[in-house]
Symmetry: C2
Subunit: 484 residues, 2 copies
Amino acid sequence: MFSELFHLELDLPTKHRIYPVILCGGSGTRLWPVSRRSYPKQFVPFTDDESLFQMTLRRLESGFEAPILLTGNDFRFTVAEQAQQTGIDQATILIEPVARNTAPAILAAALLISETDPDGIMVVLPSDHMHHDVSKFHAALSNGIAAAAEGHVVTFGITPTRPETGFGYIELAKAPSEVAQDFVRFVEKPDEERAREMLSSGRFLWNSGSFCFSAKTMIAAFETHCPEMVPVVRRALDDRVSDLDFTRLASVYEESQDISFDYAIMEQISDGKVVPMASGWNDLGSWRTIWQESRPDEAGVARKGHAWAIDCQETLLRSDDPDTAMVGIGLRNIVAVATGDAVLVADMDRSQEVRDAVALLRDGGFKQAEEFAKCYRPWGWYETLALGERFQVKRIMVKPGAKLSLQSHVHRAEHWVVVSGAARVTVDDDVKLLGENQSTYIPLGAVHRLENPGKVDLHLIEVQSGAYLGEDDIVRYEDIYART
Amino acid sequence: MFSELFHLELDLPTKHRIYPVILCGGSGTRLWPVSRRSYPKQFVPFTDDESLFQMTLRRLESGFEAPILLTGNDFRFTVAEQAQQTGIDQATILIEPVARNTAPAILAAALLISETDPDGIMVVLPSDHMHHDVSKFHAALSNGIAAAAEGHVVTFGITPTRPETGFGYIELAKAPSEVAQDFVRFVEKPDEERAREMLSSGRFLWNSGSFCFSAKTMIAAFETHCPEMVPVVRRALDDRVSDLDFTRLASVYEESQDISFDYAIMEQISDGKVVPMASGWNDLGSWRTIWQESRPDEAGVARKGHAWAIDCQETLLRSDDPDTAMVGIGLRNIVAVATGDAVLVADMDRSQEVRDAVALLRDGGFKQAEEFAKCYRPWGWYETLALGERFQVKRIMVKPGAKLSLQSHVHRAEHWVVVSGAARVTVDDDVKLLGENQSTYIPLGAVHRLENPGKVDLHLIEVQSGAYLGEDDIVRYEDIYART
């Protein structure tokens, strides 16, 4: 992988710097229950130790400037932490105050880059796609960057491998070659007959939502095709606020049109280029595509976690909870996915209707529609183990050096038992250090704080009791993560 | 229901007493994950508040002697508690030291009854069957008891409603009437063609495993057809031991043949009678039969718990865990069942292969093959909420007046936090009372005891820490349930 990237540098004009712009604000529900609004698929560990977002970053780790990461307020700590784990600590994390689709997000990144480097080339990528052949990905990227350096707006089109009805297409003027070439137009998602025609014609590519251009070229394109957006986004950028590691766009951003980059720019320009990519791309946009990526055996059965199949075919069985064992018997064309708090069982061809399932649960007031039992916080995470009348048990992990806010609760008292690591606990004026197997009591109303002063993760069990146990019963007096 | 029982009394010769003999030692796995070896289907709540075992007892609650309940050592506290909840506190709970199938169990009950009442009539029933029409059940029972009072060995045969291949059949000498009549022979489970023939002939009934005869008739039948079993079981009964509420057969019982009552007696006798029963019987022996009993809607979809169906047909969706939401999309002829720790997804017609699934999990060392997260004990229950390296969190419920054994642990210390109710805690020489939201610490090695001195259930959270956290790290000094 590094060698391809090294080639990439050699192939490019050295005077241009290249900026990865990663769009990681998406909150898809099509992979529920594994992807949820509160923690969408780009952040979920996909291989044993990496999320799709991290795999996206790693594909661009050598020869590029520090990336610009666009996201929403809810995901900022996750983006920062996962980038850091990947070894990237210079990223600019640009926070959109509200989601306004891809056009204003890409414009904001272009304006930011042009402040210091108008000739800088942006490589704009979704954070939740897969490329099996990284060397082909890099080769295509290299061709795209070369065209962008000449002032072109470039999109990357995926060489289709099946008559897919779930993607948009890009029509080419002539048969595809490896380099940037003209395209005729963008085509909406087709029906199956049309998809077959396009596949056999050899003149269509899938629209991957990946782009490349210089910052100044893109700003000019917006000024031509979407002029009313420019002053709004420029103002949001000019009035931006730094907040810890984050750069917050000003709230005027919400006045921008809510529109996709394809629609605002790509479908409007007449001189765009497309570079074909045959990189084993997969948008992982449905359970069927996940099944395809999960190495099914000769019977078509793919399994993950503690899952077993007895005489199944073309079936995905996934237990995403280490404590849940799943067995499928005699299934055909089924996807079954279990987390600790939800189970989806669907006909593989109907897996796009998962959105309806999520809506059903949300309307019923079930929190697993949108949230996970485990909640990530800047200091670590917590997970509810049991919730009963007047009591709740949580497992809490605090990262080394991390501190929860100085806080108090009106309705609940808390018991803390340290199970591993060390805790520094402040209760009113008293500060003490607790080791493994030690405990403390936080009376109702006491001003308290929990810190991990050690070098290893702190795990503790919290038993809450009281008449009301909601997360919103919290008065914050001081917070190192600027959440007061 | 009570009125039918009243009729039953009127129809019978008053000189005979009638003893329900309920076989509740079965440990079927065909309804895994809801039924497990450690807590089989007869004890699982079937309606909102009653198990099949309890429904069986309630069908026989008026006009009968106190029942004789046959079970194994593992289920004794469950049998006692569920019988008590049903208002039966005079039952004889006869414990088989090892399972030896139905023949020796029925013989032991016959010998026990004949000690005081040789003419006593035994109504022998499985503990896990369903009868929708209790009045027809009682009418058939009444006819069977009348024949038993005349010295006959009676079995109850179910009027078949479909060409079922999963049951044994009983062939009649002539077309069935309502009263006891001769039968020709017992027939093994047939193939589908044979099942159709038997159904259309109108001369076959399903074998329900339910019987009726006097104690002395049955002892005579064993002496004729299975003579070597009688002295062994008689010795096991003579040397029985009383243990709290239980009567333990002596260990010589294990020398008895391991053989079914059908095979040992019913298939051998030439003068048996059968009484047809059209009581809406269901043996609940597979997920398909559970689906039939779960009131499917017009699309054939049956749901239980937090379960939803989007365009499914002939499908059972069951969440048996209050914290798990299940959604099915586009399913046909599927059963999906989730508990907190296991998920089964099966083709409805293959649900008899659930046994293979259980074997697969057992061989893999997964405890959910045979055990539940919640473990019932004579004093209440406990449930593991989280198990990590060197720690475990349990939720514990102690019934009013109940006491855990006086015990100590070699490898673990424990924290207890009371979340509701009151606890009396002994730690070495110290005894204290804890109320809601109070906690205590049990150091490693300390001799301790937990009691509920109150009038309401005690709920507490236990946090264990130590190098080894198995249930077998326990030294018992004293136990009111005779487990030392």
